[in-house]
């Protein structure tokens, strides 16, 4: 089988989505798999009477933290350093990768195990380290599967959700020597476990992401379901934790709000299986925390998009998104796909990701599932305006909207234009209406063309109502027009 492209399709999201939808049984299977998780999320959220209060609280804490970010970053750095953590600051992805490589080279490390970190995906750390002769093994099962297949993750929480067990069986048969054709999940998981144990034991350094960093303690929290972050940092003497600067929370007590929201929103679990708190290095070991900006300060400066920094990477917006479910994560061509990715990615690289804010029907479901109340669909709409201002929307669209506005701004032209359309359309031979130019008509009929518009019928009706009883009009209102 051919693998979904890792690179953004040259024609953007619509073309990639088209290819995904073309395999209809698979697209439906993908939709159902994610909808199942959305339903689990609904049940988990409904089990807490205070769910909506928690969302409000989380949004407030995040708004406060982002507003006072410099203060909390300094507080966090001081407290972390007090516990012996080495704190590094990276302005962008390049600097982040250089810092990580520097630490690895300093320890002569050749083998690295890494738990899930969307930040390191965003910075493309793996290929960078591999270029420098370092083996990086993703230890999250889903991530390991896509890594073996040389694909990017298609979802931030469920990296291999686009794959069926048969695909995993084929991948493992090729790379891990499992029996060809075997697709029993238990068998495959055990094979992966054996394979990963060898990697854990041999690792020189463990890299993890960070789910939350607490300013008042200097501690970090890493959440996983597989315990792979803990295993990865338990044996090596060096632990590198990579985090975006927006991961901060002011107080340890705030964790109570976020930990309750995270797993319920992500997978419908009450809590992630492992929620590990790291407060400084173990005796004789090193803990490095790399704090990365990579465009976050610019987003923070924007009144329109600041709230997108609330994101705790739960993936709920992807699971609920009717477009994501039917087009697959790879169709977005960005590290973070789905609704939140369609804001974050074009915010960093507008030209490359200009089709993403339009890969949305503006249904608003993402906004209502978001545990930190990011107004995702409003931000997507606002982003379309940003792209128009940057001249990044197609000329055809700009011209047609100008024309439409010209017609709609002139009532007579609108009325006459409508009349002509309704008169002409039914008289045209079918091939002139339904052809390659008409995307609407590929699978849908156009609406029937009625002989009269409402404004024509209304004028007749008004005339009729007023005629037999002139007094009746005194009850109705006089028009402002």
């Amino acid at each position: 089988m051919s693998h979904p492209s890792a690179q953004p399709h040259s024609a953007g999201h619509p073309a990639a989505a088209d290819a995904f939808v073309a395999n209809e049984p698979r697209a439906h299977w993908h939709d159902k798999a994610l909808w199942f998780i959305r339903e689990k999320r609904d049940r988990a959220a409904a089990s807490l009477p205070e769910w909506e209060t928690l969302r409000d609280r989380a949004a407030q804490i995040k708004a406060h933290t982002i507003a006072n970010l410099p203060h909390y970053l300094e507080e966090f750095e001081a407290n972390a350093q007090r516990m012996g953590v080495k704190v590094h600051w990276a302005a962008d992805a390049k600097e982040h990768n250089k810092i990580v490589l520097g630490i690895l080279q300093q320890h002569n490390a050749k083998k690295v195990v890494k738990s899930k970190s969307m930040l390191t995906e965003e910075c493309h750390l793996n290929p960078f380290l591999e270029q420098h002769g370092i083996e990086v093994v993703d230890t999250d099962l889903g991530e390991r599967i896509v890594q073996l297949r040389e694909e990017p993750p298609s979802h931030i929480v469920l990296p291999a959700i686009h794959l069926k067990k048969q695909d995993v069986g084929d991948t493992f048969a090729t790379h891990l020597g499992t029996t060809p054709g075997a697709d029993d999940p238990q068998y495959l998981t055990e094979a992966a476990r054996g394979h990963l144990r060898e990697k854990f034991v041999a690792a020189d350094v463990g890299i993890t992401g960070v789910n939350f960093a607490v300013a008042e303690t200097g501690g970090i929290v890493v959440c996983t379901n597989e315990g792979n972050a803990d295993l990865g940092v338990a044996l090596p003497s060096v632990h590198i934790a990579c985090m975006g600067i927006e991961k901060l929370l002011p107080r340890a007590a705030d964790l109570a709000v976020f930990v309750r929201l995270l797993a319920r929103s992500a997978t419908g679990q009450p809590i992630t299986t492992y929620t590990s708190h790291f407060h400084g290095p173990r005796p004789g070991c090193e803990l490095h925390i790399v704090m990365v900006d990579n465009g976050r300060s610019d987003i923070r400066a924007s009144d329109d998009f600041r709230r997108s920094l609330n994101c705790i990477r739960c993936g709920a917006c992807m699971n609920t998104c009717p477009v994501y479910r039917r087009s697959g994560g790879h169709s977005y061509g960005s590290t973070v796909p789905g609704p939140i990715g369609s804001i974050l990615s074009p915010a960093m690289e507008p030209e490359k990701h200009k089709s993403l804010p339009f890969a949305c029907s503006l249904c608003g479901s993402c906004t209502d599932v978001c545990p930190v109340k990011i107004d995702l669909h409003h931000q997507l709409l606002t982003f379309r305006r940003e792209l128009a201002l940057k001249n990044l929307i197609p000329l055809s669209k700009r011209v047609s909207m100008k024309l439409l506005s010209f017609v709609l701004s002139r009532t007579w032209l609108f009325a006459v234009g409508g009349k002509v359309m309704r008169w002409v359309m039914p008289k045209l031979p079918r091939f002139m209406v339904y052809n390659r130019m008409n995307a609407w008509g590929k699978q849908r009929e156009l609406p029937p063309m009625p002989p009269q518009s409402f404004r024509e019928l209304y004028a007749i009706r008004k005339h009729m109502v007023n005629k037999p009883n002139g007094e009746a009009s005194s009850h109705s209102t006089k028009g402002a027009a």
């Binding site: 029907s361 479901s365 305006r385 849908r444 027009a481």
Partner: protein, 259 residues
């Protein structure tokens, strides 16, 4: 009470009976609404394409045309949402607009919240599938969306229909998933848009829907387009048409599809 009718552009031109049904429903409850003929469109197609500059003249026209009315009523949650949530950038802190915004209502919302109508008497002995149009549901809160856990808000659209004699609501597996219309999305992302529409229709089919209804004709235009292409015998009606006492038009009774 001076009420201005705000009719979506495509309803005016393509679905005149939906607008006429709106007039009749309002008259049934003693409201004689006026249709100011200078109106055309709320500007949403341009705004949703990012071309907000092209929306401005229409937003300004809306203010000019409707500010003399006590209430503005529109049989579309989407167009009302446009006015309520997306005109801000054209009328920043404009008190005339703020006042008009507060008086602009979607039809079902107006009936329930302003006229305080609890339900509508009449007869509609059909299996009705209610499509929850997203903008009405999630922007105007016409009902409780499945995502939110504070289920306090009643469903205004359903409530108005519920007391009609013989009406039976079909039970959907996904009660409020988007139909995939989404304005220019329907064309720009044709494949996903149509798959979303097909999936909604499949859900209605398994539930046994005979009459498909919604408070937004745009969703129904998309779904009806799919139904007619496939020759499926499901009647499509705007909520206003049911409330005005219209009978469903089944393709089988008309003797085939019209085009």
């Amino acid at each position: 009470m001076k009420v201005g009718l705000f009719i979506p552009c495509y309803v005016d031109q393509l679905y005149p009976d939906v607008a006429m049904a709106t007039v009749e429903v309002l008259e049934r409850f003693g409201v004689h609404a006026d249709f100011p003929t200078a109106q055309t469109c709320c500007g949403q197609p341009m705004a949703n394409s990012g071309c907000t500059g092209d929306t401005r003249p229409l937003a300004e026209a809306f203010l000019r045309i409707f500010s003399g009315y006590d209430y503005v009523v529109c049989p579309s949650g989407s167009c009302v949402s446009m006015v309520r949530h997306h005109y801000e950038e054209y009328f920043h802190n404009n008190p005339t607009f703020e006042a008009l915004k507060a008086r602009t209502f979607e039809l079902c919302e107006f009936l329930v919240d302003v006229l305080k109508i609890k339900s509508v008497a009449g007869k509609f002995p059909h299996k009705v599938g209610l499509h929850q149009s997203c903008h009405g549901l999630r922007e105007l809160h016409l009902g409780p969306p499945t995502e939110l856990m504070n289920k306090g808000t009643p469903n205004k659209v359903k409530q108005l229909l519920a007391e009609l004699d013989g009406i039976e609501f079909t039970s959907l597996q996904r009660p409020d998933e988007c139909c995939g219309f989404g304005g220019t999305f329907a064309v720009a992302e044709e494949a996903v848009s149509c798959m979303m529409g097909q999936d909604r229709l499949a859900d209605h089919q398994q539930a046994g829907t005979h009459v498909l209804t919604a408070a937004d004709m745009s969703c129904l235009m998309h779904l009806e387009g799919l139904l007619r292409r496939q020759g499926k015998d499901v009647a499509v009606m705007h909520v206003a048409q049911i409330l005005a006492g219209r009978e469903p038009q089944f393709a089988s009774q008309r003797g085939g599809t019209s085009s």
